[in-house]
Symmetry: C2
Subunit: 620 residues, 2 copies
C-alpha cells in the first residue's frame, strides 16, 4: 500500500488490481474485468458474491451476517459487495462465485462456449412507495433496473398481473427474469436464482429434449420420444401434403408436436426436480418442414420449386404458438435459421456444433435421419443438400425393423465359412428385431460373405438354411425363433434390402453431388462427420463397406451423435452462438438435388454396394 493506493491480488489467477482505499472487492474485481456473480447488483441482497479475502478489510456488515452461514463466516467468507478494501489484500474467488467461460462436453464434440444465455435474473431493491412517490409499479421497477443494470426493458403483458403482489410480498425486493436484455418475463418476490432452459431437436421421426441449467450451462436431463406426427405421414413430403390437404390438418400437426414437447419437458423436469415455471426459454431445431409445422405455418411452398421457407429463425412467446404447459407462462421460444428447401435449422445446428464452417480443413457432415442433410466445405465456402433417405434405417418399412430399444439387434457378424450369425442385442436380452446399426452391419456382412451381391440380390445358390423362401419372397434368417422374443425368426427380406438400398443411395448420391459441385474427391475430405441419433451407434467401417458415404480414411471419420441437438444446446446457453448460426445459414449455399442434371444417374449408381462406379463415371 502506497499512500491511499491499495493492491488486491485475485486468486488463483494472481490478477492484480490497484485503486484507492475504500472500494469494495466487487468494484476492484470489476475494474480488472474479473467477473463475480451478483444478482442484486452489489446491494447486499442476494449473497452470491462470496469470496475469501485476507488482509485489511472493513468489518462484517449486518447484511453479511444475515446472508452468510456461521460456518462460512468462520471460514473467512465475505460478500465482495460489502467488504471494502482498507489496505493490500489477497482475495480467493471460489468457482461458484465466478461468471466465466464454460468448457462444455457435448456428445463427443468439445466446444468452449462463453456462458451468455438470453435469459438472466436480476435482483433489485425498489424504493418504497410513499404519498410523495406515487410512481406506478411499472415505472418503479423499470427505472430501478435502468439505474442499477443500465437496461432499458419492456414488460410482457402477463407480468403486470404478478407485479403488485410480487413487489409487496417481497417487501420491495424482487427478482426479475429478463430475456435478451429486452423484456421482463417474470417478477418474483425476494431473491430467486433458478433459471432453466430447454433445447429441442424435432426430428421427422424422433423428438429429443435437453434440460439445461442456464446459470452454469449444464445439461441436467434429457428425454426423447417418437414424433407423434408420424401418424400423419412418415416423411416430410407426406407431411407437407397432409398439412395442405385441409385447414384443420396443419393445426393437428402443430398440436401433436407441441403436446409431445410439453410432455417431454414435464417428464425431464420431474426427474430432476426442476419446477417447470422456471423454464424461461426453449430453443428448437428441426428441418424446415418440422420448424414450420411446430409454428403452425404452412410448409406448402417449401415443397415446391424454388423451395422457399416462410421463415427460419425467430423468437416467439411460447404461448403464442400454443406451448403453454410445463413452462413459464411468458417463456420464449427460439427457432433456428434455415438454409433452403428441406435443409433446415437442424442442419445449421449440426454445422454449428462441429464448427466446420470456421475450420481450414475440408469437412463433410452427413446428418442421418428420415431426411439426411449433408454439408461440405470449410471457412472459405460451404454447400449443403437434403436427401430423402426415408426412415428405413430407423426401422420403418423393414419387416423386423425397430428403433434402438431393448431387444434390438444392434451388431451382427456372419462367419464366412459356416454362414453362422453372431449378434448382440441392446440390453443383451432375447432378440426382438433389427435397429439401424444392426441393419448396416447385416448388409456389410452379407456383402462380405457373398450372401448378397453388389446389386443387393440375396444369393439363393449358397447352401445355408438361413436363406429361405417364404411365400415366394427370399429372406435371410438373422435369429432363429428359439432365440427371439417374438413368435418367429428375425429375418431380413429381399424387399427390406431394396428399401435400405434406396435409403443409402439417396444419402450417397447427395454426397457425390456435393463433391462434384466442389470439384473434389474422397481423398480431399479431411474430416468426415457422421451425425444423427442412430449415427452414434453405427460401425463406420461397415457403413463404408455398404457405400453409405464416400471412401474416406477411417481415421478421418468422426461420430458426433445428435449434433443438431448439440448445436441447440450451444444456442440455448449463448446468444453469440445464435449469431454464429445466422452466419452459417447465410454462408451455406443450398443445392437442390432435384435440379441437378447429374443427380438421377448418381442416384442409380449409388444403389450398388458400395457404389456403381467412380466420379469419372458420373461425370460422363
Amino acid at each position: 500500500m502506497k499512500g491511499d493506493i491499495c493492491t488486491a491480488v485475485f486468486l488463483p489467477e494472481g490478477k492484480r488490481a490497484e485503486f484507492k482505499r475504500g472500494f469494495s472487492i466487487l468494484e476492484a474485481a470489476e475494474s480488472i474485468d474479473l467477473k463475480i456473480e451478483s444478482a442484486c447488483g452489489g446491494q447486499q441482497k442476494c449473497g452470491m458474491c462470496k469470496v475469501i479475502p485476507t488482509g485489511n478489510l472493513s468489518k462484517l456488515t449486518q447484511d453479511e451476517l444475515r446472508l452468510l452461514t456461521e460456518e462460512e463466516v468462520e471460514q473467512g467468507y465475505r460478500l465482495a459487495c460489502a467488504a471494502t478494501i482498507q489496505g493490500d489484500v489477497r482475495i480467493t474467488v471460489p468457482v461458484e462465485s465466478r461468471i466465466g467461460e464454460q468448457r462444455l462436453q457435448i456428445d463427443g464434440i468439445e466446444q468452449t462456449v462463453s456462458l451468455d444465455p438470453a435469459v438472466r435474473k436480476y435482483t433489485v431493491a425498489l424504493p418504497v412507495a410513499t404519498l410523495e412517490d406515487v410512481r406506478t409499479d411499472k415505472e418503479r421497477i423499470l427505472e430501478r433496473i435502468k439505474e442499477v443494470f443500465g437496461l432499458d426493458l419492456e414488460v410482457e403483458y402477463g407480468v403486470y398481473k404478478q407485479l403488485p403482489g410480487a413487489i409487496r410480498d417481497g417487501e420491495w425486493t424482487v427478482s426479475v427474469t429478463v430475456w435478451n436484455g429486452k423484456r421482463i418475463l417474470s417478477v418474483e418476490p425476494g431473491v430467486v436464482r433458478h433459471a432453466y432452459g430447454v433445447a429441442v431437436d424435432v426430428g421427422t421421426t424422433k423428438i429429443a429434449v435437453y434440460l439445461l441449467n442456464l446459470r452454469n450451462g449444464e445439461v441436467i436431463g434429457k428425454e426423447a420420444i417418437v414424433n407423434p406426427q408420424i401418424k400423419y405421414g412418415e416423411d416430410v413430403v407426406s407431411r407437407i401434403s397432409y398439412a395442405t390437404d385441409a385447414d384443420k390438418n396443419l393445426e393437428r400437426l402443430q398440436t401433436s408436436v407441441i403436446g409431445a414437447i410439453e410432455q417431454l419437458i414435464k417428464d425431464t423436469c420431474a426427474e430432476v426436480g426442476v419446477e417447470t415455471r422456471h423454464i424461461y426459454e426453449i430453443v428448437v431445431v428441426g428441418n424446415t418442414v418440422m420448424q414450420h409445422l411446430l409454428l403452425g405455418v404452412s410448409p406448402k411452398y417449401v415443397g415446391r420449386s424454388p423451395y422457399c421457407a416462410v421463415l427460419g429463425s425467430g423468437d416467439f412467446r411460447a404461448s403464442d404458438i400454443g406451448l403453454k404447459a410445463n413452462v413459464n407462462a411468458n417463456a420464449y421460444l427460439h427457432t433456428f435459421p434455415v438454409i433452403g428447401g428441406f435443409v433446415g435449422g437442424d442442419h445449421v445446428s449440426a454445422i454449428l456444433a462441429t464448427k466446420m464452417n470456421e475450420s481450414e480443413e475440408m469437412s463433410m457432415l452427413m446428418d442421418i435421419g428420415t431426411n439426411t442433410e449433408i454439408a461440405m466445405g470449410n471457412k472459405e465456402d460451404m454447400i449443403s443438400c437434403s436427401c430423402a433417405s426415408g426412415p428405413a434405417f430407423e426401422g420403418y418399412y423393414i419387416k423386423h425393423g425397430m428403433r434402438a430399444l431393448s431387444g434390438a439387434i444392434e451388431h451382427v457378424e456372419i462367419n464366412p465359412e459356416t454362414f453362422d450369425v453372431r449378434y448382440r442385442t441392446i440390453d443383451e436380452v432375447r432378440a426382438r428385431g433389427l435397429c439401424g446399426s444392426g441393419l448396416i452391419d447385416l448388409l456389410a456382412e452379407l456383402l462380405k460373405t457373398g450372401m448378397m451381391d453388389s446389386t443387393g440380390k440375396l444369393n439363393t445358390e449358397i447352401e445355408s438354411n438361413r436363406i429361405t423362401t417364404n411365400k415366394d419372397a427370399v429372406e435371410f434368417v438373422v435369429a432363429w425363433e428359439r432365440e427371439t422374443d417374438i413368435d418367429s425368426d428375425v429375418v431380413i427380406t429381399q424387399r427390406d434390402i431394396r428399401e435400405l438400398q434406396s435409403a443409402k443411395a439417396a444419402m450417397r448420391a447427395g454426397a457425390e453431388i456435393l463433391m462434384l459441385k466442389k470439384g473434389l474427391k474422397e481423398e480431399d475430405i479431411d474430416v468426415f462427420y457422421i451425425a444423427g441419433a442412430f449415427g452414434s451407434y453405427i460401425e463406420p467401417e461397415n457403413a463404408r463397406i455398404i457405400g453409405m458415404y464416400p471412401e474416406v480414411d477411417l481415421e478421418r471419420v468422426k461420430i458426433v451423435g445428435n449434433a443438431a441437438g448439440s448445436g441447440a444446446k450451444l444456442a440455448l446457453i449463448s446468444v453469440e452462438e445464435r449469431t454464429h448460426a445466422e452466419e452459417i445459414a447465410k454462408k451455406v449455399r443450398y443445392v437442390e438435388l432435384a435440379a441437378e442434371p447429374k443427380f438421377t444417374r448418381c442416384y442409380m449408381l449409388s444403389h450398388y454396394f458400395p457404389f456403381g462406379g467412380t466420379l469419372a463415371d458420373v461425370r460422363r
Copy 2:
C-alpha cells in the same frame, strides 16, 4: 431553366425547387420537404402520388397508363414517381395526394395536429424467388422494406400464417401494415390502403368509442353505451372491492368491458361500412381503475394509501388482453399514462386535449363524471385531484333520473311568481325523466325562486301544488302525469337533492383544495374548462349558481365536451401526442384529497348552495 438546372413550382403553395434535369417530381418534392403520398416508395406500383404537372416532362410510362384512368390521363394527371422533369415545370398537388398537417375540430377544441399515426401501410414489390434466391419469405420482405423505407421491423407471430399466401396471391407485391415503425401487423396481397383505428373512453358509467380513418385523421363514426361493469358496482371504490373479493371477479370485470368495446366497434364499423380487420390500433383512456380492469390487472393497491397504480401507459397486443373480436387479429392497444390515485389516463387525455399544460394562462379543468377529476395550473406547474362525485348527475340514485336519452328533461325554468315550470325534453317528446343538465337547471331555479334554501331544503311553506308530500317525503313536481310518458308525475325528491348536493360538494371541495394548494383565488383563473360527456349540455350559469364550480367569470368558462375522448383521438392519429401525454403525466402532481387536512371542512361547506363560506373560512 439555366443549363441543366430546372425549376419546379409546386401549387397551390408556390413552393419552388431547383435541381438537375431528370429527377422525378417525387424526388423534387422531397427535396423541399413537400410530402406526397406514396405507399410503394416510388416504385410505380401503388398509383397514389398523382399530380397535375405542366411544362417539359418525360413521356407517360406503361405503369402510369396502367395505374391512371383514361379520364385522369386526359386531365393531365401523372404519377410523381414516374414523370421526370426535363425543363421548368409547374406542378399542382391535389389534396388527396398530400401528406400534411391536419387541422382537426375535436368537440369544441380545435387543435392542429400533424397526422402521424402509429399505424402505417407500405406497399412493396418483392424480388421473385428463384433457385438462386431461396431467401425465406420473412427475409425477403424484411430486407426489401429495409431497402426501400429504411425500417428495421419485427414480425408479429400471426403474420407468418398469412405471409406465403399473401406474397403469391399478390404476385410478389404486398401491402404491409406497420405499427410504430417496429412491428408488422399484417401483410395483404397487392395494394391495400385502408387503415383505421379506434379511440375509446372507458368511463365508470359510460363507454364511448370513436372510429377514425388513420389515413386522414377523420372521425368517421362513434357509439356509446353504459359500462356493463356497473352491475358489479357503481363507482370505482365498489369495483375495486368487487375485483379483489374473489379471483374470478377481476376476470369478469375485464371480460364485460372488453365485450362492450368489441360490440361498439362492430356497430360503428357496420354503420360506415368499414371492415373490422382493417382496425389496427385501439387507444384507450380511462381512470386508473378502469384502465386496470380493462387490462385484467388488480387495482387493489390503487385504492390503498399511497394509492399506487400498477401501470399507466402501455402497448399491448389487443388479443393478449382478450380483445379479439371485430379488430385485426394482430391489432395493438395503447393505454394512457396515469397521474396517481384515481387520476388516470382519461384526465391526462383531457389535459392533452386542452393543452392547458402548455399555456401561460392559469387554467382549471373539471372533468365531470362518476369520478370527477380536476386539474389546475399552467405551463409552469400543474396539480390535480380526483373527487368521488358519484353518478347522481348521470341520473343514478335519482328517483326520476335518467341518462340524456329521448324524453329526458334537459332544460328547466321556473316562473318566480307563479312557480309554473317550463321545460324542454330531448327530441321534444313527452317527458320521461330528468338528465344531468335538467337536474342542474332545476336546482338553480329552485334556489333562485326560493323553493329551496341554501342548505338544500325544499320550502314547504310556499303555496304551490308542485310541492307535495308523498309518504312523508317532500317532492317537487317538474312535469305532471298528463304531460309525461310514464304513469306518474316527474318529480325531484328531497332525497334526490341530498344526493346531488353530495355530488356537487365533492367536486367543489376538490376545486377549492387545488386553489388553496396553489394559493390562488377564483379571479386568478384565466380559463375554466368544463369537460365530461354531460358537460356539453349544461348551462354554465346555472352550474355556477348551485356552486358546482368556483365563481369564475362566465366568459372565462369553456365547455369542451368529452375532452378525454378528444385526447384519445389525438393520440390515435399522432404518436407525438402520446409523448405529450407522457410529459403531462410526469408533470402533473397528484393531490390526494383524503390526505388534505382542510378537505373535510371544505367538503362540508361545499354542501351549501352555492358554497358555505369563502376561502378565508376554509383556511381557518
